[in-house]
Each structure stands twice: as structure tokens, then as C-alpha cells.
């Protein structure tokens, strides 16, 4: 068994990038303020002095332009990692990512590969208000041609980022800013990868399945603790990867507990949790003792005042309330 080290999500992310850059000279980073300024969330701290301007590229504030340039570079065989300062800025690059990057392999009938990673903080941070707090993972997970992963733990970002960099297809990595400081044990293994499309059970239970991803998995773990005190045994299913989606693990859990609450930070209406809930309802109907329930973000442009912001983002109490309704 490889040994493990304790580190933060941010440190695990950076370690994975450095190890892959050392391993493969075709891997490079592009983004706004990632070099000399070390990154807004300091994920790329220390990389510019180590690799220089050739491989750690500060871009102008033109998301569509640099996403397109990175896509072209990937088509020519390089392996770019594009950082969005926040995923909310990737709206400006949607035409590139959805209508170009995601189409390359299919439109060339497999002749051209596009090994590219788009990553960055997505979801609410702290009082960044309406334009900087979007959860867009569901938008991307809607698109055939993209892979979308939302790691919830330091070990997962460590292993899944590596998988993404080595993948020959475009991958979106959604990092909730609330996770960057989370600590956990990370394998000390520069070849540690986690295959996409494998959900994990982070806590076993028998009464209800709490299905979530990214920071909501952490919320579900707290909720499960609280539920245990009430005598309810909750199983925490960490979806990890939205596209591909591991329905097998989700269904196995639901078939065991017969109840499911799907938790996601995105707007409740039309968020990716709705897709997960629909699939459970469609495929596990005979095993359900209660309707599949969703807990999502309020359908509100994110407000600034902390009290209002916290109201919008699901927390463990919202999860508990949903569970209580089903019991």
C-alpha cells in the first residue's frame, strides 16, 4: 500500500499538476494571472518561477480567445490545462468549449483528439455575489464530447486531475472554492489516478442515500453525522464524475436504502441533480419507498449579503429537512 500524506485540496491539486508537468513536456498551463500573480486562489503558486513563461502562460482577459488557442494547441498534440479564474468566466468561452472543443473528435470522425483540461473554482465562494458564483457543471455535463468531474476530497482532486491530464478528451474539472482549504490524506504516489465514472460510498448506511458531488458531498457527510444522532443511518454517495456518470453505484445504494435525496449547489431547477433524480426514478422505481427528493440551491441570482448568500446555498440543515419529509 502506498503511504499517504495529509494536505489540503489546493496542495493536492498543485502537486498533481507539477508531477504531470515534470512527467510530460507537452503539458502546460494557461490562464489569467496564473503566472506572475500566482493565481487568484493561489493554486499555481510557485509554478511560474519553476517552469517559466513558456509553460505557465499569463493570458489577456479574453476567455474565448485563450480557450480556442488551447484547443488548437491540443489538436496539434499538446496537453493544455486551462484555468478559469472562476468558472463563471467560462461563460465567455462557451462557444469555444461547447461548439468547438467538444465537437473536434466527432466532427473529424475520430481523426483528431483534443486532450485538454479546463479547470477552476465553480460555485459560491464567499460574498462574490451574482456574477461570480455560478455552478455550471450541469451545463457542461449536458454536452456529449465533454467529460465533467467534481472531486470532493484532496485525494480525489489529486487522482482525478492526473486522469484528466492523461485523458485524450476534453475534461472539465469543477473545484468548489469552499474545498480548497479542506484537508485529507492523499496517496504519496505520482502515478495515482482515479478512473472517471466511478462513484464512491464515503459512508455506509441503510436507511437513506444522500447523493451528491463536490462540496455537497462534504455537506452530506456532516448531515449523515447529525442523522445518526437521530437514529437514521444515511449512506453518503459521492458521485465524483457527472459525465460519465456511475449510475451502477448510485442505484446499488438506492436499492439498499430505498430512499434517495440528491444534493447539489446549482439552482434547483434544471441542475444536474435533477438528472440524477430522474435516472433514479426511472430505473429504481420498484425499489423506492418514497419519491426521490432534490435539495438544490435557491433559484436566485446569488445575493451579496452573507445572510442571504447562506440562505441560497444548501447546507446540512436543508438536507436534514428533506430527509425528515421522507421519513
Amino acid at each position: 500500500m502506498p503511504t499517504t500524506m495529509e494536505m489540503t485540496y489546493r496542495e493536492a491539486l498543485q502537486k498533481s499538476m507539477i508531477e504531470e508537468m515534470d512527467r510530460n513536456a507537452d503539458v502546460f498551463l494557461m490562464g489569467e494571472d496564473i503566472g506572475r500573480y500566482e493565481g487568484t486562489f493561489k493554486v499555481t503558486k510557485g509554478l511560474f518561477p519553476k517552469y517559466g513563461h513558456r509553460r505557465v502562460i499569463d493570458t489577456p482577459i479574453t476567455e474565448a480567445g485563450f480557450s480556442g488557442i488551447a484547443t488548437g494547441a491540443a489538436m496539434a498534440g499538446l496537453r493544455p490545462i486551462v484555468e478559469f479564474m472562476t468558472m463563471s468566466f467560462s461563460f465567455l468561452a462557451l462557444d469555444q468549449i461547447i461548439n468547438h472543443t467538444a465537437k473536434v473528435h466527432y466532427m473529424t470522425n475520430g481523426e483528431v483528439k483534443c486532450p485538454i483540461v479546463f479547470r477552476g473554482p465553480g460555485g459560491a465562494a464567499k460574498q462574490l455575489s451574482a456574477q461570480h458564483s455560478h455552478s455550471m457543471e450541469g451545463w457542461y455535463a449536458h454536452v456529449p464530447g465533454l467529460k465533467v468531474v467534481c472531486p470532493a476530497t484532496p485525494a480525489d482532486i489529486y487522482g482525478m486531475l492526473r486522469t484528466a491530464i492523461r485523458d485524450d478528451n476534453p475534461v472539465i474539472i469543477y473545484e468548489n472554492p469552499g474545498l480548497y482549504g479542506v484537508k485529507g490524506q492523499v496517496p504519496d504516489d505520482p502515478d495515482y489516478t482515479i478512473p472517471f465514472g466511478k462513484a464512491q460510498i464515503l459512508r455506509e448506511g441503510t436507511d437513506i442515500s444522500l447523493v451528491g458531488y463536490s462540496r455537497m458531498t462534504q455537506v452530506n457527510l456532516v448531515a449523515a453525522e447529525l442523522l445518526e444522532k437521530e437514529g437514521i443511518s444515511a449512506e453518503v454517495v459521492d458521485v465524483r464524475s457527472l459525465l460519465p456518470l456511475d449510475t451502477e453505484t448510485i442505484y446499488a445504494s438506492v436499492k439498499k436504502t430505498h430512499r434517495a435525496v440528491v444534493v447539489y449547489e446549482d439552482w434547483r431547477s434544471g441542475g444536474f441533480g435533477a438528472e440524477i433524480a430522474a435516472r433514479i426514478a426511472e430505473d429504481c422505481f420498484d425499489h423506492l419507498d418514497a419519491p426521490v427528493t432534490r435539495v438544490g440551491g435557491l433559484n436566485v441570482p446569488m445575493p451579496y449579503a452573507r445572510v442571504l448568500e447562506l440562505q441560497c446555498i444548501p447546507d446540512e440543515h436543508d438536507v436534514l429537512a428533506a430527509v425528515h419529509k421522507l421519513s
Binding site: F28, R54, I57, T59, P60, T62, A64, G65, F66, S67, G68, I69, A70, T71, G72, A73, A74, M75, A76, G77, L78, D95, Q96, N99, H100, H105, Y106, M107, T108, N109, G110, E111, V112, K113, P144, G145, K147, D167, D168, N169, G197, L243, P244, L245
Partner: protein, 338 residues
């Protein structure tokens, strides 16, 4: 207007004949595509290169084919054909057949041949321009001497992402030539109604990119200018922007049936007088490199060749329904079923 340099033909007779044959081949191929469309064998959006042949012939004869990178928008048949892509595969793609360049998944707008350096074939106006710069970025990253030809239309020249790309091309010194094929119309909107300054060549200047306006209706002049610029970019490792004055003789796309909505017949007649094929034929007649008879014989020979291509493409099968999920990813399938 474009510079009208004196044509001091530095081209050998063999080269002249090659350019003539290439232009004729594109002309007849495109006319056959129009036939395919009218017969219902091609669908969707289809845009032909008729009238603009000298432009592509000049540029694609100035690069190292198979080594340099080429990218364009949806008026893309000519570029692929000139790079040596199997014309049956191009016609089959236009017809949505399995033998097409993309197995029938791309269609007329999405012809690719990466082995020959051709990276599409893109449908969103201006959207491929940063991708072309990305190909040049890869050359710069690797330190190789490839040049990228990045074709776009006059309509695309207004897109925001094109300006973003020009800035980065200048900033990062990308060996990329931005070639604005100015055929005077963004679909049905004339240049003067879509561009605040109709001298599109000036758009390189704010980004410190060398720029000029050139004549695209004279194959020999085009080739001479293109070679000079390609050599400069290869030598200097910097971007370049050119505006090429040309004119599309046909409509914007195969579904554009009423050109009189945006231009007069008189204007078209005047443009037809500048036909790049007739121009080169006249020149070769003057030099006594060709006779009227050989001109006709070449024309017939190429028409027959195109006819055979059409027949071969048309005889080839459609894709199998089982292929629909293939190559969305290199290693997995999406969720299947309706």
C-alpha cells in the same frame, strides 16, 4: 483597392498549367456540389468557392503541404482539395456518406484531413480563428518551423474572438497568417454595411501585426504575394494579416437563391469579367503556352474527372446507424437511447 503589381511572371509554364488545372478542378468540383445539392444528394448548409479559386491556389501552393497547418471556415472544399485530400472522400462527405472525410458526420462545412495538415472545416463565423492560432501556438511551443494559414471571411473579421486572437498572436509571436477572404459580403450584408472601416487589412495594426491588402483574382500575383509572406513568417516567427480582395460568383450558400436582394446583375457581370480562370487562360494564350483547343481539352478532361468523382461518391454507402455513437470520445460512449 488592392495593389496591382505588374505581373512579371516568374512562374514556369508547368506551374501555370498546374494553377490553371487546380482552379478548373475547384470550379467544376464546386459546380458538381451544387448539382448534388439540387438533386437532394447534399443537404444542410453548403458553400462553394466559385470565383475565389485563385486565392486558395495562390496560398496553398506557397506552403509545405503536409507540414504546415491550414484551417478555414465552412467554405472549405477548395482548401482540402488543394492539400491533396481524396476528392471522392470530399464529395462523399458532402453527400453524407461513410466514405467521406468524416464518415458522413461532418458534411460540407466540416472537411478535415489532419494528416495533410488540414484542421477544418468550421461552422461558426470567426470561431475557428483562435483554434488556428492554437495550431501556431503549438509550433511555437515546440520550436518547429511550421506556418499556419488561418483563413477567415470578411464577416468573421468583426467577431470579438478574432480581435482577442489577433491580440494574442501579436503578444505571443505566433507564426500564423490571418487571411481575410474578402468576398465583399457577410452572407447577404455588403462590406460597407457591416464594417465601420471597410479596409479590413488595417485590423492587424493595433496588435503590431504586419498587414496588407492584396488582389485575389490573379492566381500568379496571389502566388507571388503568398510565397513572399509565407517565407517571411517562417523566417521571422511572427504573425501576419492579409486582406485579399475577391468575389464569390455564387450565392453565400446553396440555399441562397436570390442574390439580387443584396447585389445587382450588373455588378455580378462586372465581377465575372475578373474571373481568375479566364484571366490565367488569357495570359497563357498570350504567352502561347496554350491554344484555344488545349484550353477546351483540359476543361473537358477535368469535367470528366469530376463526373467520375461524383459517380464514385454517389455509389458509396451511407453510414450505418450503429456508427452514430462512434468517436464522440476516444474511449467511451455517452448514455445511449432516446
Amino acid at each position: 483597392m488592392a495593389k496591382q503589381a505588374v505581373n512579371t511572371s516568374t512562374h514556369s509554364p508547368a506551374e501555370l498549367e498546374t494553377y490553371l488545372r487546380e482552379m478548373l478542378f475547384i470550379r467544376h468540383f464546386e459546380e458538381k456540389c451544387n448539382v448534388a445539392y439540387r438533386q437532394g444528394k447534399a443537404g444542410g448548409y453548403m458553400h462553394v468557392y466559385i470565383g475565389m479559386e485563385a486565392l486558395a491556389v495562390g496560398w496553398l501552393n506557397s506552403i509545405r503541404k503536409g507540414h504546415d497547418y491550414v484551417i478555414t471556415a465552412y467554405r472549405d472544399h477548395a482548401h482540402a482539395l488543394l492539400l491533396g485530400t481524396d476528392p471522392i472522400a470530399v464529395m462523399a462527405e458532402v453527400m453524407g456518406r461513410k466514405a467521406g472525410t468524416a464518415g458522413g458526420k461532418g458534411g460540407s462545412m466540416h472537411i478535415y484531413d489532419p494528416k495533410r495538415g488540414f484542421f477544418g472545416g468550421w461552422g461558426i463565423v470567426g470561431g475557428h480563428v483562435p483554434i488556428g492560432a492554437g495550431l501556431a501556438f503549438a509550433s511555437r511551443y515546440r520550436g518547429d518551423d511550421r506556418v499556419t494559414l488561418n483563413f477567415l471571411g470578411d464577416g468573421a473579421a468583426n467577431q470579438g474572438v478574432v480581435f482577442e486572437t489577433l491580440n494574442m498572436a501579436g503578444l505571443y509571436n505566433l507564426p500564423c497568417i490571418f487571411i481575410i477572404e474578402n468576398n465583399e459580403f457577410a452572407m447577404g450584408t455588403r462590406l460597407e454595411y457591416h464594417a465601420a472601416d471597410t479596409e479590413l487589412w488595417k485590423r492587424g495594426a493595433p496588435f503590431d501585426i504586419k498587414s496588407e491588402r492584396l488582389d485575389g483574382m490573379d492566381a500568379l500575383q496571389m502566388k507571388q504575394d503568398a510565397q513572399r509572406i509565407v517565407d517571411w513568417v517562417r523566417q521571422n516567427g511572427k504573425p501576419y494579416l492579409v486582406e485579399i480582395m475577391t468575389y464569390r460568383f455564387s450565392g453565400h450558400g446553396a440555399a441562397d437563391n436570390d442574390r439580387q436582394l443584396y447585389r445587382t446583375k450588373e455588378e455580378e457581370e462586372a465581377a465575372f469579367q475578373r474571373d481568375p480562370i479566364k484571366r490565367l487562360q488569357r495570359h497563357m494564350l498570350e504567352l502561347k503556352l496554350l491554344s484555344e483547343e488545349t484550353i477546351e481539352a483540359i476543361d473537358e478532361e477535368i469535367q470528366e474527372e469530376v463526373e467520375k468523382i461524383y459517380e464514385a461518391a454517389d455509389a458509396s454507402p451511407f453510414p450505418d446507424p450503429s456508427e452514430v455513437y462512434d468517436n464522440i470520445y476516444s474511449d467511451m460512449m455517452p448514455e445511449q437511447g432516446h
